[in-house]
């Protein structure tokens, strides 16, 4: 560790020491915060009191000290070279966000496909059920006619009865299939639920990225910024609409190949 690094760490330690009583003053017990090495002194002024900014000159002092801490952190990050890590983190956030959006889009499309299929299957079921009901009524009329002893054979009578029984079963089976289709449809609510979670994570990463960018602008000299090389193999393209170096579908592939004479 170089001389300047050691100085920065000492500065950070001093900042932590000055922050602890301040945090106790504002939040009460701060033992769960990462910057506290020891549990907060229970006898500290206002320990455990409501977390309001103190009145009068205390509020101004609070902001002054937070400002000082921010400056200390800024200097330490700069001198220790943490801006590289920050830059890495900042550069990875948009990628993570695009991948989450990609997942949300794919699961949404899948849910829509299932719902479309359920609708189509239900339509077929309804038609089959309606047709079975109609035929059942007609066969019932035939059964009544033959039961009256008019032009019938034992085999014909049995066929009429079996067909009527089958048509009744068909109606019941259609109802069962419809119940299963309802279950399949209801299972697609995962898209709404997971989508809400993904949306929150995306929003969080956006805020984090904005904060990191601000910190980077302050902490990193322009000449030290470097561009992260993009990996040669990226996997599925998750933000094709924002890029001109990728195709968005198979038609794009075919057009490209055709333009090259293949």
């Amino acid at each position: 560790m170089g001389h300047s690094d050691a100085n920065s760490l000492r500065e950070l330690d001093r900042a932590n020491e000055s922050l602890e009583p301040l945090a106790v003053h504002v939040w009460g017990d701060t033992s769960h915060f990462a910057f506290c090495e020891t549990p907060a002194d229970a006898s500290a002024p206002n320990a455990g009191s409501a977390n309001a900014v103190p009145e009068g000159h205390g509020g101004a002092e609070l902001y002054q000290r937070i400002g000082h801490l921010t400056r200390t952190l800024h200097n330490a990050l700069h001198e220790l070279g943490y801006h590289d890590s920050l830059a890495d983190a900042r550069d990875h956030l948009p990628d993570a966000r695009d991948r989450l959006a990609y997942i949300a889009r794919l699961t949404g499309d899948a849910a829509e496909k299932v719902l479309n299929s359920v609708d189509r299957a239900r339509s077929v079921q309804d038609a089959t059920s309606a047709r079975a009901k109609e035929l059942r009524a007609r066969w019932a009329a035939v059964a009544a006619y033959t039961a009256a002893g008019q032009r019938t054979t034992p085999a014909g009578q049995a066929l009429v009865e079996e067909t009527c029984a089958f048509l009744v079963t068909l109606g019941d089976q259609a109802a069962q299939t419809n119940a299963i289709l309802t279950e399949i449809m209801m299972a697609q609510d995962f898209h709404d639920l997971t989508g809400q979670v993904i949306r929150k994570v995306v929003s969080l990463s956006q805020e984090l990225e904005e904060q990191l960018v601000k910190l980077l602008i302050e902490a990193t000299p322009a000449e030290q910024r470097k561009k992260i090389e993009v990996g040669r193999l990226e996997g599925p393209v998750v933000n094709a609409e924002n890029r001109t170096d990728v195709v968005t579908d198979q038609a794009g592939v075919d057009d490209l190949l055709a333009s090259l004479g293949f």
């Binding site: 949404g108 849910a111 719902l115 209801m186 609510d189 809400q196």
Partner: protein, 127 residues
């Protein structure tokens, strides 16, 4: 309430709107319109007659709570039954919905039986 009540389904996820619409149809209520947020819902409500609102809470532009408050504050809309169907399961939200005039609250994921029970119960009290 009319013999064929007209429902307004409000949710920013089209999947959920379709699910609710299909369930309502199965229950016997095939007359339904959809809106993707509170703003679109208010537009539809102010330009047509609806008998029942089924709304999500967490939506862009105008959330379900704001929609509920707008509906209850509007002389022409305040009597429409309002059922919340949402993933927000915090007690605070449920209490908030009730205090602001919601007639029912369903937490996602839910079943057809739950939706049917709540809708029928609300229908009875508004008959």
């Amino acid at each position: 309430m009319s013999a064929d009540p007209r429902f307004l389904i409000v949710d920013d996820f089209s999947t959920m709107r379709r699910i609710v619409r299909n369930l309502l149809k199965e229950i016997g209520f095939g007359n339904a319109e959809e809106a993707e947020d509170g703003v679109a819902a208010l537009n539809l409500l102010r330009n047509g007659k609806f008998d029942f609102i089924v709304s999500d809470i967490n939506m862009p532009n105008m959330d379900g709570f704001a929609l509920l408050k707008n509906v209850r504050a509007d002389e022409n809309l305040k009597g429409i039954p309002f059922l919340m169907v949402t993933a927000e399961a915090k007690k605070e939200d449920i209490v908030n919905a009730a205090q602001n005039g919601a007639n029912g609250y369903i937490v996602k994921p839910f079943t057809k039986a739950t939706l049917e029970e709540k809708v029928q119960k609300i229908m009875k009290t508004h008959a």
